[in-house]
């Protein structure tokens, strides 16, 4: 049993039970989410571990990871603040909002704050266009939506993360 399987044996068994026994490969996306949970990215060793569990090649796993935007293969900010600046949001000022958030945190889109806490990213439509400006936060706790935002409200949220870090 490899380390991933050992640590999450029950959860992995539950995931596998969703798919026909001869179609284990279907579990590759859920397993990538499990592997990514602790450190916010999937390591090379974990590619191999997922591949072993599903009896596919590590290249297959890496290819899946590369195709989808919610998987990451290198460590970045603990919190990924993903601002939607796609067309409908942009019509409601999302570009200016993104710029404001970046200025406040002293980063460029795609960049990470000096303390390594927050990576700000511009992303495509998140199905919340009516509540723009908005962003989602991807972290070890999953994904959470924050809608009808202002630069101030976003800044307060980041402050609250900083406060919990200090504790």
């Amino acid at each position: 049993m490899n380390p991933l399987q050992e640590r999450y044996s029950e959860e992995i068994a539950q995931v596998l039970s969703k798919y026909p026994a001869d179609q284990k490969r279907s579990a590759v996306m859920p397993l990538l989410y499990i592997a990514q949970r602790e450190h916010g990215y999937v390591s090379r060793e974990q590619f191999a571990q997922i591949a072993e569990i599903l009896e596919i090649s590590a290249t297959d796993v890496a290819e899946i990871l590369g195709f989808y935007t919610l998987y990451h293969d290198k460590p970045e900010g603990k919190y990924r603040l993903q601002v939607c600046n796609d067309l409908p949001c942009a019509l409601r000022g999302a570009d200016q909002f993104l710029e404001g958030v970046c200025d406040h945190l002293g980063v460029k889109p795609g960049g990470t704050t000096q303390d390594g806490l927050v990576t700000v990213e511009a992303v495509m439509c998140l199905a919340a266009c009516h509540r723009a400006p908005m962003f989602q936060v991807q972290s070890s706790e999953g994904i959470a939506y924050h809608e009808d935002q202002t630069v101030e409200s976003a800044a307060r949220l980041v402050d609250s993360w900083r406060a919990t870090e200090v504790e």
Partner: protein
């Protein structure tokens, strides 16, 4: 107006099982299993005239009747990969009226003789998937899902499956590939999913909104449903209204409601003293229509919208006011399509790249007039030559804006002398 899909706005706490039950929830499912043959359910849906709400508008009952009855198992796969810029209806339905949605999935599964159904949600709907999992567990405990339901031989299981951020997975065959653990890239068709779908087995793929209609059709009958909407497009539609409008949001209205009513009566008109310039009736993959009197008075149904040079599609209406330059707008849409092209076929992969390159140049005042013509030419070379609809979609805003808002490009190109044409496309 009686809401069908957004009933939670009239019935508080409809997302709680006991409340949904008190309002007749799951009676249709029970009645179907205990007193109707699967084909009778399909026939009723056929009679209602319900058409798919995912974009293509294909008759739902007819789709169900295509399922191959010689090969088993059958699957139902729900397309909950809502990613079209401007679309946010399925999310509200699943969040606020989840049991009606789930009952619709269950009725569809019974009708097409499937014992397993997968709900493929976009990865960003992480919290929503966790909620649906809880609801599914609850239904299992209540004996509404599982083995030998209501003492019949029918058993049914529902599962959620999270995607991970790829617009193309909303294309039904790409979605199936993704669910099989492969790259989310479209399959060559035919064969179509009702004969060759998930794991190569007969599969019905339906959108969330489509299925959420089904319990009420079973409960109140096909004639009742036909009492809404138009002859060819019965029922209501959830219009997602966004962009430069005072009250963006979801509005459930009969198909055939005019743009004017949606935008000005329900949406509160255009804010900041601006006036309306253009409408995209089907999200970012839509043609831009000039928002003149004729367009505003056009009924929003599958037959009428083409008369003003666009499609109704998913009915995600994006409003654009007169402060917006269309060269900026198409640069935004091209950014989206370039980013989301799955890369499987050359015209789309290369075409979206080149179109983005050109729109970026035009937007930054670094283009020559020929670049606008070139952009149009690239678009016309992409259109109709791609494996799936995304390729065509990428050209709609481009070609329609050059045709209908040429002046905006002239402003961009002619007012600023090209300084340099050596601009790089940022590839996020």
């Amino acid at each position: 107006m009686n809401d069908i899909l957004l009933r939670h706005r009239q019935i508080p706490n409809l997302d709680q099982f006991p409340i949904y039950r008190q309002n007749g929830g799951f009676e249709a499912f029970k009645r179907a299993l205990t007193s109707m043959q699967p084909d009778e359910v399909t026939d009723l849906v056929k009679a209602s005239g319900l058409r798919g709400r995912g974009g293509a508008g294909f008759p739902t009952g007819m789709k169900w009747s295509f399922i191959d009855k010689n090969v088993f198992p059958h699957y139902v796969v729900v397309n909950a990969d809502e990613s079209e810029p401007g679309t946010f209806k399925d999310r509200e339905i699943m969040e606020s009226n989840p049991f009606q949605f789930l009952e619709g999935v269950m009725l569809c599964a019974y009708a097409v003789r499937a014992n397993e159904a997968y709900i493929y949600l976009r990865g960003e709907f992480w919290q929503l998937a966790a909620e649906l999992d809880k609801h599914i567990e609850y239904l299992e405990r209540e004996g509404l899902l599982g083995e030998k339901l209501f003492g019949t031989d029918y058993s049914l299981r529902l599962y959620t499956h999270l995607g991970a951020g790829a617009y193309i997975c909303g294309e039904e065959t790409a979605l199936l590939e993704s669910l099989e653990g492969k790259l989310g890239q479209p399959r060559l068709r035919p064969p179509f999913p009702p004969s060759f779908g998930l794991y190569g087995k007969p599969t019905i793929v339906n959108n969330v909104e489509t299925l959420a209609n089904v319990p009420m059709i079973l409960e109140k009958g096909a004639d009742w449903f036909r009492g809404f909407g138009t002859e060819k497009s019965p029922g209501t539609k959830v219009f997602s209204l966004s962009g430069n409008v005072a009250k963006p949001g979801n509005y459930e209205l009969p198909l055939g409601t005019t743009f004017r009513e949606l935008i000005f009566e329900h949406g509160g008109g255009i804010p900041n003293g601006r006036s309306i310039k253009a409408i995209m009736p089907a999200g970012a993959s839509s043609s831009l229509i000039v928002a003149d009197e004729k367009a505003l008075d056009t009924p929003m149904d599958y037959e009428s919208v083409p008369s003003v040079g666009a499609m109704l599609g998913s009915a995600s209406v994006i409003v654009v006011d007169d402060s917006v330059n269309m060269a900026w707008l198409i640069n935004k849409t091209m950014h989206f399509f370039q980013h989301e092209s799955c890369g499987k076929c050359t015209p789309c992969r290369e075409g979206t790249f080149w179109m983005r390159h050109l729109t970026e140049r035009i937007e930054h005042g670094q283009a020559r007039w020929e670049d606008v013509e070139l952009l149009n030419e690239v678009a016309s070379n992409v259109k109709g030559k791609c494996l799936c609809a995304l390729g065509d979609f990428s050209t709609e805003a481009v070609m329609s804006s050059i045709q209908r808002f040429r002046h905006d490009f002239e402003i961009k190109v002619l007012s600023e002398a090209p300084v340099s044409v050596d601009i790089k496309v940022s590839n996020p």
